[in-house]
């Protein structure tokens, strides 16, 4: 795994997203599933729906990272592309809940950074998966 950047980043990011999702439930007890007022988990403003999304993304990344390079590439690129595409579509649908990336906050910087990094790594590295399988 250590020889494949895609497996490495999928595993690390997957574990972090899972942890953030689990810890999120600890700070959002009593908050409605899609409440308009979330709670703060360090710098991440979360509600239970957001925790579920974190858990799902974390599980997908972690499983893909543990299983193999080709799957990790696919999941990395997919997660990054979906976040970026939703955000870009949201730029044009101003009043829609898809308008998620145009906020100036530390958590937005980290979300965007992790998404474009996953997309970039998925597109550009481990182009010969067989060579990177260890």
């Amino acid at each position: 795994m250590r020889n494949s950047p895609n497996r490495l980043i999928a595993t690390v990011f997957g574990a972090v997203y899972l942890l953030v999702g689990l810890l999120g439930f600890a700070v959002t007890s009593g908050i409605g599933f899609a409440a308009t007022e979330g709670a703060n988990l360090i710098i991440f403003e979360v509600n239970p729906l957001h925790n579920v999304i974190h858990l799902a993304i974390g599980a997908a990344l972690l499983l893909a990272g543990l299983r193999g390079t080709a799957g990790a590439r696919t999941v990395n690129a997919t997660v990054g592309a979906v976040y970026l595409l939703v955000g870009i579509v949201g730029l044009f649908l101003l009043n829609s809940p898809l308008n998620i990336i145009a906020l100036n906050g530390a958590d937005n910087v980290l979300h965007l950074a992790s998404a474009v990094l996953l997309l970039g790594v998925g597109l550009s590295l481990d182009k010969a998966p067989a060579a990177a399988r260890a």
């Binding site: 509600n47 044009f92 009043n95 100036n104 950074a113």
Partner: protein, 204 residues
């Protein structure tokens, strides 16, 4: 026209003569392309949202949208296919875009006066891409010219750490630019996903 293909390998018995910096710079350049594309699309969205003040604003919005889409597509081609490194057309287009962003910052009009920070963000990302493409082009020329270079095994953990730092830098430039656009006035805070609030939150 294109530069030599420089796909990184990670535990080859005889690694190619690429420096540790090369794949990192390539990756961060592509990420900057995603950031610049997003910011240009935010400029387009803002100009369209301004209503219909005139055909020139509509045309500018369309050009910004097309350029943003081209940047996103170019970033994908660059990362996935190793294209565009040596393309003079790409560099010329990026230089022209940088000049337009600079002019928009220096000489704001009524329609663009609220987009100064967004234009500045786009300018910084465009200059970052231009500088990185220049560096990558010179590295390619050095390898073609047969100049000696220290062989180095690319270490994934180091590569990812450096790329993560680059991605945070790009996101740190992109996010304020997006937030300063019209879309930023309506964006949904993360803790409020799932709620539909007509009229938006008007947060910056």
């Amino acid at each position: 026209m294109g530069a030599p293909r420089t796909t990184a390998t990670f535990h080859h018995p005889a690694p190619p003569p690429v420096s540790q910096a090369h794949p990192t710079v390539r990756l961060v350049t592509g990420i900057a392309g995603f950031g610049a594309g997003s910011v240009n699309l935010a400029i387009s969205s803002s100009l369209f949202a301004a209503g219909a003040p005139g055909p020139e604003i509509t045309a500018a919005a369309a050009v910004a949208g097309l350029w943003g889409a081209a940047l996103l597509a170019g970033a994908v081609m660059f990362l996935a296919k190793d294209r565009l490194v040596g393309s003079r057309w790409a560099r010329a287009a990026l230089a022209a875009a940088a000049a337009v962003h600079l002019a928009a910052v220096a000489f704001p009009t009524a329609a663009t006066s609220g987009l100064g920070l967004t234009q500045l963000s786009a300018l910084l990302l465009t200059l970052m891409i231009l500088a990185a493409l220049g560096w990558l082009g010179r590295q390619g020329a050095r390898q073609e010219g047969g100049l000696p270079e220290q062989p180095a095994v690319v270490r994934p953990a180091r590569l990812l750490l450096a790329a993560f730092a680059g991605a945070v830098l790009v996101a740190g430039i992109t996010t304020p630019g997006l937030a300063a656009s019209t879309a930023g006035q309506y964006a949904v805070p993360h803790g409020e996903h799932g709620s539909l609030v007509p009229g938006g939150h008007h947060q910056h």
